[in-house]
């Protein structure tokens, strides 16, 4: 329990408020204020410079009339969907494997998780090299006696978005594994023992006892990975530059290009707000459940 009023000396109480106040002011101004400010910009005729000329929803009409924006949204859907599905499945799989009293468990963990310590830009550069048709995986397989093997997704506007999935899965699957492993280690050994005494098989214990109790962990991993997908920026810039053409554009790249390169700040602000909305659709149920869990 924190101090009751009587226990506080006035000076210390004041000091506590003074210490926290810069962060309170910063949060109000730089988070909440800036969100409102960006909403306002999205309703104005701001181009290279901000303007206070109100234009209603004109920027939103422009945004949703843009094929590039629709391509960015559908790319986020394809990339995000596949990335979340694969990184969560692989992460859970690896966590279960590592949970089997593995010799060298620490070492495996270090190897699975190190990409998470690398910059997304470095990851993009590495995979750009590995996926280069002339030198990378395609060239390796061809040199092994399959001269007609084709794997040039990175140069193919229809397939390039899948290379982003590969690189993103590589970078963050270890993160998902770490979350699931922490969840698995938190499962009470009593209920597992009880199931063993009942004669349940190993696979059955996982399916019927352990995995259901991991539901909150699943939810956390889902929200985190959706967040990573929406925020992906440096990885895609370094891997494909958003191309070929704009075939691997996602909302984060669209927002950057329109706001800082094309001088269409109003449309850029509208796209930023859409990113926030997408994120909150996934985060709000989580925040709601989490606050109920803590209450």
């Amino acid at each position: 329990m924190p101090f009751t009023k009587a226990e506080f000396s006035g000076r210390d109480r004041l000091m506590a408020k003074i210490v926290l106040s810069p962060t309170i002011l910063a949060a109000i101004f730089f988070i909440y204020g800036f969100i409102l400010w960006t909403i306002w910009l999205s309703l104005t005729r701001s181009t290279i410079l901000p303007s206070n000329h109100f234009v209603g929803l004109a920027n939103y009409y422009d945004l949703f009339g843009s094929s590039r924006w629709w391509r960015s949204l559908s790319n986020l859907g394809i990339f995000g969907g596949l990335y979340v599905l694969i990184s969560l499945s692989l992460g859970l799989g690896l966590a279960i494997l590592l949970d089997q009293r593995i010799k060298g468990e620490r070492l495996y963990q270090v190897v699975f998780l190190y990409p998470m310590a690398l910059s997304a830009v470095v990851t993009g550069v590495a995979w750009r090299w590995l996926l280069d048709p002339g030198f990378g995986l395609q060239a390796i397989v061809r040199s092994m006696g399959f001269p007609h093997f084709a794997f040039a997704w990175i140069d193919d506007p229809d397939m390039a978005i899948y290379t982003v999935v590969i690189a993103a899965v590589w970078q963050t699957t270890g993160f998902m594994m770490a979350i699931f492993l922490a969840g698995l280690r938190g499962v009470s050994s009593d209920i597992v023992k009880a199931a063993q005494i009942d004669g349940a098989s190993h696979a059955r214990i996982y399916l019927r006892v352990i995995l259901p109790s991991l539901a909150p962990t699943f939810f956390v991993a889902l929200v985190l990975s959706v967040g990573l997908a929406i925020k992906s920026f440096g990885l895609i810039i370094a891997l494909t530059g958003g191309g070929p053409g704009y075939s691997t554009n996602v909302p984060s790249i669209f927002m950057y290009v329109f706001s800082f390169q094309r001088g269409e700040m109003g449309v850029g602000a509208a796209s930023a707000l859409m990113m926030l909305v997408i994120m909150m659709i996934f985060a709000l149920p989580f925040l709601y459940l989490d606050s109920r869990r803590q209450a």
Binding site: D12, V19, W170, A182, H202, A238
Partner: protein, 288 residues
């Protein structure tokens, strides 16, 4: 869960799958490393998996001190240094403020402080695109637009506070309030309780927070590319410029050496203090 030391078929499958996964995660870094030690003719004549014929340091030296980035041809060393100049004060300031905030939010709560904490948590969730345009305007008004310090550093401190405060708050909530009460009886004040009781037990959470902030800020690209220009840019932005610069021949070996230079600081921190990094990653994700 068997305990026998004989490798049963089931265990053999498990170890095979784990090793296969390990190979997948190691392969890209292996390829980067061997590529950085090759000459360009060697890259053309051998596969990317082949070991270099000898340890050729040309690409490393060139990437460090001669490669063309933007308008200059002096390699990435200046940008590498930029990242340190940026990261060190940003980590120290955001961690220190986070520690005090966590202390207030757990042991000096006041009316509304809990509400504020939940409000602050939004800062750990939002895509930062939502703040870029106003921030750029404010930095312009303050006359620090495009600068590494204080411009970019300020951005990282401000948007790191939600994370550092969360870390310290969740740690200090586990420290018995009776300790603080007892110190109060002895006449200790707000700051002396922090420095005499909290700080001495804070080493693990300081490590977690500092390593988290170091990794996030060093690796960040979005803020760097939006808020700095030219010679003020951090190393991640420079790497992207280097790789993007179209020269007559693409120097893959130089790209890879430069990328490894950029990766080295966070990679070393991870290898030395990985458990703190993992704790930061999973903090909040799993309670208790």
């Amino acid at each position: 869960m068997r305990t026998s030391s004989v490798l049963s078929p089931r265990r053999w499958v498990i170890y095979s799958l784990l090793s296969l996964a390990a190979l997948f995660f190691l392969l890209p870094f292996y390829v980067m490393l061997v590529t950085a030690f090759k000459t360009m003719p060697e890259i053309y004549s051998t596969g990317i998996l082949a070991l270099p014929s000898s340890l050729n340091w040309y690409a490393w030296v060139h990437a460090w001190s001669a490669a063309t980035i933007g308008a200059a041809s002096s390699g990435i060393h200046g940008y590498f240094l930029n990242s340190f100049i940026l990261v060190i004060p940003a980590v120290v300031i955001s961690t220190a403020i986070g520690a005090f905030n966590g202390y207030v939010l757990t042991h000096w709560r006041f009316r509304g402080s809990n509400v504020f904490f939940y409000m602050l948590l939004l800062g750990t969730i939002i895509p930062f695109q939502i703040v870029l345009l106003p921030m750029a305007w404010v930095e312009g008004r303050l006359g620090i637009a495009g600068t590494l310090v204080p411009g970019l550093m300020l951005v990282h401190v401000i948007y790191g506070l939600a994370f550092t405060t969360l870390f310290f708050r969740n740690y200090y909530v586990g420290i018995p309030h009776d300790l603080v009460k007892a110190a109060r009886v002895d006449g200790a004040g707000f700051f002396s309780i922090f420095f005499r009781i909290m700080l001495p037990v804070s080493t693990p959470i300081i490590m977690v927070t500092a390593i988290w902030q170091f990794t996030m800020i060093w690796n960040n690209f979005l803020f760097g590319v939006v808020f700095t220009q030219g010679g003020q840019q951090p190393v991640t932005v420079a790497i992207n410029d280097l790789v993007d610069t179209v020269t007559s021949v693409h120097m893959w070996n130089v790209d890879m050496a430069a990328a490894i230079f950029a990766a080295l600081p966070t990679l070393l921190v991870y290898l030395i203090a990985g458990k703190y990094f993992v704790r930061g990653l999973t903090a909040g994700a799993v309670k208790g």
